[in-house]
């Protein structure tokens, strides 16, 4: 309660300034709704002229210094840059470019603390200055009237100018509103306590402000131009009046009240109009620009200089020399505070921005950015910690102070209850977060934080809702797709079944034909046989008769082998043919013939193989004496061995699945950890071990016969497999196994972490075994490759 002790004589002051309408010399002005009168504290920093601090060694340039998307870096680490060179370009419509504030070397592009209420890091370009201040080529415009407004807007966009009053909205967008603009308002209000940057700017660079205003007026085609200044800046008013003499610019002076400098509030004061909720001033035919922005525009057009510096107020009781500085963007707060003679021991709060809307930071290596109008190094007495919030007594002082005519205490209750519907009903998003309500609150409730948090929560919820809508759409699309795939598969299956039926019919026809040979007319039989042969040929089958012929007498071992190979080759050919048919069917839909061509060539090759084998078989069976066939087509087909191997593989896979299941059951049992489950756990463990042993055996078997590596690739029906060496196949298999073993190790590790101590031992043993296995596999893999 020291705040009360400090000034016991002060009234329970009115948050309301009263609704007096003070007419300036010529213009009528309108009163602000609500508002407060915080102590101004502006005199501290206006006693010294604007100075230029020494060039710092490093500049930290955040890529996101404006509202909208962060800028896109144009340089690489190590690049030398010149003063004024564009080092990051606007990455979208709502974005702004960034320029090197001085010449030097880019030493890093990395995450650094930035001036933001969150205290987070963000991507920054780090520039090591070289002290030479070498400018890049500039393109000043001698007479801006020679250029079209659109060309000037482009120049402003290239200069990287964003609003310098605080919000940092890219200026070029505001200058091309797409609607007719009648009134340009230059905001020289600077209603927040402590800040004097605009005041000093108007005092020292009044001509530049007026020049900038004229350029802006030309660009917008605005009929009138108003410059609004609060009556607590008499020097600035005099300077501006002098500079604006004889020009089509009105300097409008109005009584000091916070927050008259808000864009909407200033429009209300100067024109009596209100910006409709959710709309922009441009919809009323108005554009508001800060005086700093006007000077930046003048610099960009007349001198061709991009926005690389700004005037910032350094103030607060912890500074021995509070003043305004013309500072390069990217200068760290610590350098500036040192320049203003910081009394380190007295510093308690460092605020970026003003006391009403600024934010505290908890470190000093934070750079000044385009929107940093003030740095307050405050002592404990200056900004004492807010007293504990008391209960809201609904006194209504906040409602009287609110410049937007909201009901802050209702918003507070609903924000506490997280009742978003009611918050929206009470127009939460019309709150400009000026802090007037918190300022007057007798119970010291951090009202603004409630509103900010609620706004954030509502935005998050809306984003979530949008995402869930999209997820729903994607989910439904996926279901539809799966449905379609299923239907296609079904159609394919049907087609295959039909083919099979046809084939069967052909076969039976042949059989009946041969059966009926004896009885029927020989001509008829011949016709039937020819038909059957034709049908069989159509199905891609080779002469079935030859097989039958061969089976007449007992076969030698060689013959047997050949026969097996032959049948396999036939099966392969059949398979390929089926694939071909399917491909043809789908090709009609998709118009893709490539696969079909491949399959066809494949089929031809297989058919050739079949006929070769057939030939070998026939030869072999004709002269029963076994002799080596020189062509050795044996190797061409898949050996019987591969069948075996396949079987083993299946077994292995099954064993692995069993192992996985057992492991999972074990893990579940361990997790539940009941003593009566102990028995179960034991049996599970045994099962796991048995499975593991099984796998090892199978793997040993699988790796035993090296013969499989000798299978010629041509045996494979898929042409893609042909390209791959069998060795890589093996390696791949091992790799996958090794990965799976690694996964098993990881799973076990996790299980160990989550179980009790008594279970850990056995699990650890398992882990060791699994690790060993993983290591072995890795070794095998390495030796292979």
């Amino acid at each position: 309660m020291n705040a009360i002790v400090k000034s016991p004589h002060q009234d329970i002051q009115s948050p309301v300034a009263g609704s007096q309408v003070i007419a300036s010399s010529e213009r009528k002005i309108w009163p602000l709704t609500g508002g407060v009168h915080p102590e101004e504290n502006k005199h501290q920093s206006t006693s010294r002229p604007v100075s230029v601090p020494p060039l710092p060694e490093t500049l930290v340039l955040p890529l996101s210094q404006h509202a909208g998307l962060p800028a896109d870096p144009l340089i690489r680490v190590g690049n030398k840059v010149l003063k004024g060179q564009m080092i990051a370009k606007a990455s979208g419509f709502v974005s702004a470019a960034l320029h090197a504030p001085t010449s030097g070397t880019v030493t890093a592009i990395e995450n650094r603390p930035i001036p933001h209420a969150s205290g987070f890091y963000d991507l920054c370009i780090i520039l090591e200055t070289d002290g030479q201040e070498l400018w890049c080529q500039l393109a000043p415009v001698a007479d801006y009237r020679q250029l079209s407004p659109a060309e000037l807007v482009e120049k402003v966009r290239d200069a990287g100018i964003s609003g310098m009053g605080g919000a940092g909205f890219p200026t070029a967008i505001k200058l091309a509103p797409g609607t007719a603009i009648n009134t340009l308002i230059i905001n020289g209000t600077e209603c927040e306590p402590y800040i004097t940057a605009d005041d000093m700017l108007m005092r020292e660079k009044a001509d530049a402000v007026i020049q900038g205003a004229e350029i802006l007026q030309y660009m917008l085609g605005a009929r009138e131009c108003l410059i609004g200044i609060e009556d607590n800046k008499p020097e600035a008013i005099t300077a501006m009046r002098r500079a604006a003499a004889g020009k089509n610019i009105d300097i409008v002076v109005f009584p000091t009240i916070y927050p008259s400098g808000g864009e909407k509030q200033l429009i209300q004061i100067l024109t009596g109009q209100e910006v409709p909720s959710g709309k922009l001033p441009a919809d009323l035919g108005m554009v508001v620009q800060n005086v700093g922005t006007a000077v930046a525009v003048k610099d960009a057009i007349v001198d061709g200089k991009p926005l690389i510096s700004r005037i910032t107020t350094l103030t607060g009781d912890a500074l021995a020399a509070p003043q305004n500085v013309d500072v390069l963007i990217g200068t760290l707060a610590q350098d500036l505070l040192q320049y203003a003679a910081l009394k380190t021991s007295e510093l308690s709060t460092l605020v970026f921005g003003g006391p009403m809307m600024g934010f505290t930071v908890d470190r000093m290596d934070i750079p000044v950015i385009k929107t940093s109008n003030c740095l307050i190094a405050a002592t404990e007495d200056e900004f004492p910690a807010a007293p504990d919030a008391q209960a809201c007594i609904r006194c209504g002082h906040c409602a009287e102070a609110c410049p937007s005519s909201l009901l802050p205490q209702q918003l507070y209750w609903h924000a506490r209850a997280e009742n978003h519907e009611q918050l929206m009903h009470h127009n939460l998003f019309d709150c400009i977060e000026c802090g007037a309500c918190s300022f007057v609150c007798p119970s010291s409730i951090p009202l603004v934080q409630y509103y900010r948090a609620s706004k954030g929560a509502i935005r998050t919820q809306e984003a979530k809702h949008t995402k869930s809508e999209r997820s729903k759409q994607r989910y439904e699309d996926r279901l539809a797709r799966l449905e379609q795939e299923k239907a296609e598969k079904e159609a394919k299956r049907k087609a295959n079944a039909e083919r099979a039926a046809k084939l069967k019919a052909a076969k039976t026809a042949e059989q009946t034909g041969s059966d009926a040979k004896a009885e029927e007319d020989p001509i008829q039989a011949a016709i039937a046989r020819a038909k059957a042969r034709k049908a069989a040929a159509a199905a891609g089958n080779s002469e079935p008769a030859s097989g039958r012929q061969a089976s007449d007498r007992p076969l030698s071992a060689k013959q047997k082998e050949l026969k097996v190979q032959l049948s396999m080759a036939k099966a392969q050919a059949k398979k390929t043919e089926r694939a071909l048919a399917a491909a043809e069917a789908s090709a009609e839909l998709k118009g893709d013939r490539k696969d079909i061509e491949q399959l066809k060539s494949n089929l031809a090759m297989l058919n050739e193989q079949v006929s070769q084998l057939q030939q070998a078989f026939d030869e072999n069976s004709q002269d029963s004496a076994s002799k080596d066939s020189p062509e050795k087509p044996v190797k061409v087909a898949k050996p019987a061995l591969s069948d075996n191997e396949k079987k083993r593989k299946v077994e292995l896979a099954m064993a692995k699945a069993a192992l996985k299941k057992a492991e999972r059951a074990l893990a579940a049992a361990v997790e539940s950890g009941f003593p009566d489950e102990q028995e179960n756990t034991e049996s599970f463990k045994q099962a796991v071990e048995a499975c593991q042993a099984n796998i090892k055996r199978l793997e040993a078997e699988a790796s035993e016969p090296p013969a499989e590596t000798a299978i010629p690739p041509s045996a494979d029906a898929k042409p893609s497999a042909k390209a791959k060496a069998p060795l890589t196949d093996e390696a791949k298999k091992l790799k996958i196994e090794s990965a799976m073993a690694n996964a098993a190790v990881k799973k076990l590790q996790r299980a160990i972490a989550s179980t009790g101590e008594d279970e850990q031992d056995t699990l650890k043993q398992q882990l060791v075994a699994a690790e060993q296995k993983a290591a072995e596999l890795k070794q095998a893999l390495e030796s292979l490759s």
Binding site: D365, F383, P442
Partner: protein, 358 residues
């Protein structure tokens, strides 16, 4: 680097939300200013009706603070934190002023403890109570002990007026001794009970009637009026509530003033300056917690209280109706709030009612 070292000193409090500068206003200041503003009225009451009122105020304040401390410590909170906002003290003071001067100690105890414990803390404490705790306590004893609650002492200048401190003490706390205090009905009561006499006859017949509103009562009310104007000037509350209530009473009394006859309900001035009108207008209905929140809402709230006060006085079962009227309007306050939201900047018209379901 020394600057970096000083980070520790600036990170102590962590990040805080703006604004970092706060005004000088505080709940404690608001409450204590209101308590101070009751002093003229208290002095007038003590002057005209004896020491009883003062003793009552002290006694009620003690009970109120005791109740607050007891409940707060039961809820395991900081007692000093809650007592320091002075809201309990204000409730006690207001009840002390509202109760009859020689109300026995137990009557005050019942009223204050009911108001504090049930009327305030059971709803969640300061800021959460839908009803004015002081009025809730008052109504409870008014319904339970109508005899004690409607008898006041003869005012100053009348026979039987007792200005002795000890008598007052012993009447309120009868420690074995009993004082035969002479009691008398209030002007409002007399007027309500009147069936046959015209106003003029009544004024002459009954010594409590003197001047416009009854002996002493006018001055008490004028004292409260002055304090109220002071508080409005100091911006503790806005003029809307009191003006609404007083205007409504005046209009009702004018509309239903049937002159001088025996069925007259009394003149507008009589109603404005009698009973608890001014105390209610400036100290009871301006309780922000249980009242309406927007200015327009307060005007309506005040007017509602005013109308109901008159209705109860003229046709109701009780001589004064400020307490009942306040409680009834407390119930209506949320609805009033929903329909009197101000028009937000940039909106064509104000929101009304509850949010629309789509």
């Amino acid at each position: 680097m020394a600057l970096i070292n000083s980070r520790s000193s600036i990170s102590q409090r962590g990040r805080e939300t703006s604004p970092h500068a706060l005004g000088q206003n505080s709940t404690q200041r608001v409450m204590s200013l209101v308590i101070m503003a009751t002093i003229p009225g208290l002095m007038a009451q003590t002057l005209f009706f004896g020491w009883g009122t003062l003793i009552n105020v002290v006694w009620c304040s003690l009970i109120a603070m005791g109740c607050e401390a007891a409940v707060v410590s039961l809820r395991q909170r900081s007692v000093s934190f809650y007592l320091s906002d002075c809201s309990a003290l204000l409730t006690g003071v207001l009840l002390g002023l509202a109760l009859p001067p020689f109300a026995p100690w137990w009557l005050s105890l019942v009223a204050v403890s009911f108001g504090m414990v049930i009327g305030k803390h059971l709803y969640g404490g300061l800021g959460q109570n839908p009803f004015n705790p002081a009025m809730l306590g008052y109504v409870v004893v008014l319904i339970s002990f109508p005899q004690e609650m409607t008898t006041w002492l003869p005012p100053l200048g009348l026979e039987g007026h007792n200005n002795s401190l000890t008598d007052a003490l012993f009447t309120i706390f009868p420690l074995g001794q009993s004082v035969d205090a002479i009691s008398m009905a209030t002007p409002l009561d007399v007027l309500r009970e009147n069936k046959s006499l015209t106003i003029n006859e009544l004024w002459e017949a009954n010594p409590v009637f003197d001047g416009m509103a009854g002996r002493g009562w006018m001055w008490v009310n004028l004292a409260y009026l002055a304090s109220g104007v002071f508080l409005i000037w100091r911006k503790v509350f806005t003029w809307h509530g009191p003006v609404g209530m007083l205007a409504a009473i005046a209009i009702m009394a004018t509309l239903f003033w049937s002159g001088n006859g025996s069925d007259s309900h009394g003149s507008p001035l009589f109603h404005l300056l009698s009973g608890a009108t001014m105390l209610g207008a400036f100290f009871i209905i301006t309780d922000p917690v249980s009242g309406a929140t927007s200015n327009r809402g307060r005007l309506i709230f005040g007017a509602g209280v005013g109308v109901m006060v008159y209705v109860i006085r003229a046709w109701g079962g009780y001589p004064d109706g400020v307490a009942f009227a306040t409680l009834l309007m407390n119930m209506a306050a949320p609805t009033i709030d929903y329909y009197t939201q101000p028009r937000t900047y940039g909106h064509h018209k104000a929101n009304k009612g509850l949010p629309k379901k789509d």
